[in-house]
């Protein structure tokens, strides 16, 4: 074999120009995400400031009455925030135990065969369009499941039914993220505990769960964010009544449901009502984005810790 002429030169030749062009265009595609984030922040800030020029931010963030259509107009966001948090918390009360138990079962107990049955079921639930869950809450959860339990104290629209379907919606998220966290715990830790004579449940409770705690917390934080931003599962079930209440049997309004209500109606786009939509959206975005950053940071940290 003789070396082709110039082969030695190949090794020192700078990268081809087409390679540079390709890398640059790939980089451009990768920046779409950042551009989207920046765009969202600019739009929300700009439009929310427009609203805050007319309504004092102090009144907005501390006011306890929200009345966007009935005079006197009042722009206290707390009723919407409480409605959003109540629905999200009801969802978490359901989803944290169920999702966590499912995750422990999948990571620690299930045989590959049962795993192959349970995983697709969770993925199916995660894939159901959320409007379908809203329909289910309105037509089944409230009249068939909850009405017999609570009787006449329960409204046609109530926070409880919305919260329950939101719980169903975020359970797969908690289950799959927690399962990842449990699987990231090194096998050596488990084997050490087994060698000390611990039963499987003791290994799970005293070794695996504490070691995976940060990942489990992250899954709960991300699920909370998802629950607060959920729209269609909630909008049909909880109603459009922005009252300040902590009673889950009452009708409330979430931030997302308000946004839908305003954009559905014939509200003129230069009205104060329409501008308030952006202030509410900016608040929601800040809350959920903060939770996402926190949750993803924890996930990244435990990934580094064990790899």
């Amino acid at each position: 074999m003789t070396m082709p002429a110039g082969a030695a030169g190949l090794l020192t030749r700078p990268p081809r120009r087409s390679e540079r062009v390709i890398e640059a265009s790939l980089f451009l595609a990768a920046t779409v995400g950042v551009l989207t984030t920046v765009g969202i922040v600019i739009v929300l800030t700009f439009e929310a400031l427009e609203f805050f020029r007319l309504v004092s931010p102090v009144a907005f963030f501390t006011g306890t009455v929200w009345s966007a259509s009935i005079e006197p107009l009042q722009w206290g966001v707390i009723p919407l925030a409480v409605g959003t948090l109540m629905v999200a918390l009801i969802g978490l009360v359901v989803a944290v135990p169920v999702g966590l138990l499912a995750a422990v079962y999948l990571a620690e107990y299930a045989s590959p065969r049962t795993r192959n049955l349970v995983k697709p079921m969770l993925e199916t639930i995660a894939g159901i369009p959320t409007i379908v869950l809203g329909f289910f809450a309105l037509n089944f959860v409230t009249p068939v499941l909850l009405k017999p339990l609570f009787g006449s104290g329960l409204g046609t629209f109530n926070a409880l039914a919305g919260g329950l379907v939101v719980g169903l919606l975020i359970t797969p998220l908690i289950a799959s993220l927690s399962e990842d966290a449990l699987r990231a715990v090194p096998r050596g830790l488990r084997e050490g505990a087994f060698a000390m004579g611990a039963t499987r449940w003791e290994v799970v409770r005293k070794v695996v769960l504490p070691a995976a705690l940060s990942g489990v917390m992250a899954s709960i934080i991300l699920a909370m964010s998802r629950a607060m931003g959920e729209t269609m599962a909630v909008v049909l079930a909880v109603g459009t009544n922005p009252q300040l209440t902590f009673d889950p049997l009452e009708s409330v309004q979430t931030m997302t449901a308000f946004i839908v209500q305003i954009s559905l109606g014939d509200t003129p786009q230069d009205s104060l009502q329409f501008k308030s939509l952006f202030a509410v959206a900016a608040t929601l975005f800040a809350l959920t984005f903060g939770l996402n950053v926190l949750g993803n940071r924890i996930v990244a940290r435990y990934r580094n810790a064990y790899s």
Partner: protein
């Protein structure tokens, strides 16, 4: 040492194995109960929707236009609108999403800029979908003056779906073993030759699956489209760049917002159609994965 030994002697180790095993069994029972609860919830949902909607589902329903009378209503404009949106979203997210994933997974050094790009994608994937609707309203409907058209809706959903496609494609690229990359380099391939000739074909099943499932997600999405105008009562087939449009989930929302049982019935029938579209797309994803990975071994 001698100071601690009496304490040890006093607390003799009692295995109490029966009790410990019992609590383990109770816990396993709880795990199975949790999975049972999920299964029952899913079954109740399906039984309820099919029970309510099945009687309404016939040929006239699939080929008709919406009507103020439930018995005469159909979903053809919404079905066509959903399929058009799904196709546009798939066609646009595929090149952008895969290119971004290739950059982040195969090219990007671990420096500040690239770490920012990467964490940003994860955080974007968690932004509420309705916020994308507001952004779409400002960018596509107003700034680019596309108006309340199907194209504006589809572009909004592209932004929503992109992070998901990028994350799934990165996952698929990560699963390709480094030995393949090193093999390509050893044969003298440039980086792009290595990526396009070796890594991409090996990751194709995972990438394609991710994109098909993302299209399913786009077809089921409702909230952002409300903001970019898919709420009009549409009795004609949508033109992507002109005039109103509607999609299946919006149709469900409109009908389910009415108190009459008949409207709930046609809403349920529409849900059945959405679920069937999802089943078809999932089956397609499975088929593509099996088909494409037939020749891949490592």
């Amino acid at each position: 040492m001698s100071a601690t030994s009496p304490a040890i002697a006093q607390t003799r180790f009692e295995p109490r194995l029966m009790r410990r095993k019992l609590s383990g069994t109770v816990f396993l029972g709880l795990c199975l109960a949790a999975i049972g609860v999920l299964l029952i919830a899913l079954l109740m949902l399906l039984v309820d929707v099919f029970g309510r909607g099945w009687p309404w589902l016939d040929g006239a329903f699939l080929t008709g236009a919406p009507s103020r009378r439930p018995a005469a209503a159909g979903i053809l404009p919404a079905l066509v609108g959903s399929l058009e949106i799904g196709l546009i979203v798939g066609a646009l997210t595929f090149p952008i999403g895969v290119a971004a994933a290739i950059y982040l997974q195969e090219y990007a050094r671990d420096d500040l800029v690239n770490r920012l790009l990467r964490t940003n994608i994860s955080n974007l994937a968690g932004v509420p979908s309705i916020i994308y609707g507001i952004f779409g309203l400002a960018l596509f409907v107003r700034a680019l003056s596309l108006g309340y058209t199907l194209l504006a809706g589809a572009l909004t959903l592209v932004l929503l779906i992109l992070p998901i496609v990028i994350l799934a494609s990165m996952e698929a690229l990560r699963a390709v073993p480094d030995s393949l990359r090193e093999g390509a380099y050893a044969l003298g391939a440039t980086r792009w030759q290595m990526v396009s000739g070796t890594v991409l074909p090996a990751a194709a099943p995972g990438i394609m699956t991710g994109i098909i499932l993302a299209m399913a997600r786009a077809i089921g999405e409702t909230a952002p489209l409300i903001l970019v105008g898919a709420v009009t009562f549409v009795t004609f087939l949508p033109n992507p760049v002109d005039g109103g449009y509607t999609v299946l989930p919006i149709q469900v929302f409109q009908w389910a917002s009415r108190p009459q049982a008949d409207f709930q019935g046609i809403a349920a029938a529409t849900i059945i159609v959405i679920l069937l579209v999802m089943v078809v797309l999932n089956a397609l994803a499975l088929f593509v994965r099996v088909r494409l990975s037939r020749h891949i071994q490592w």
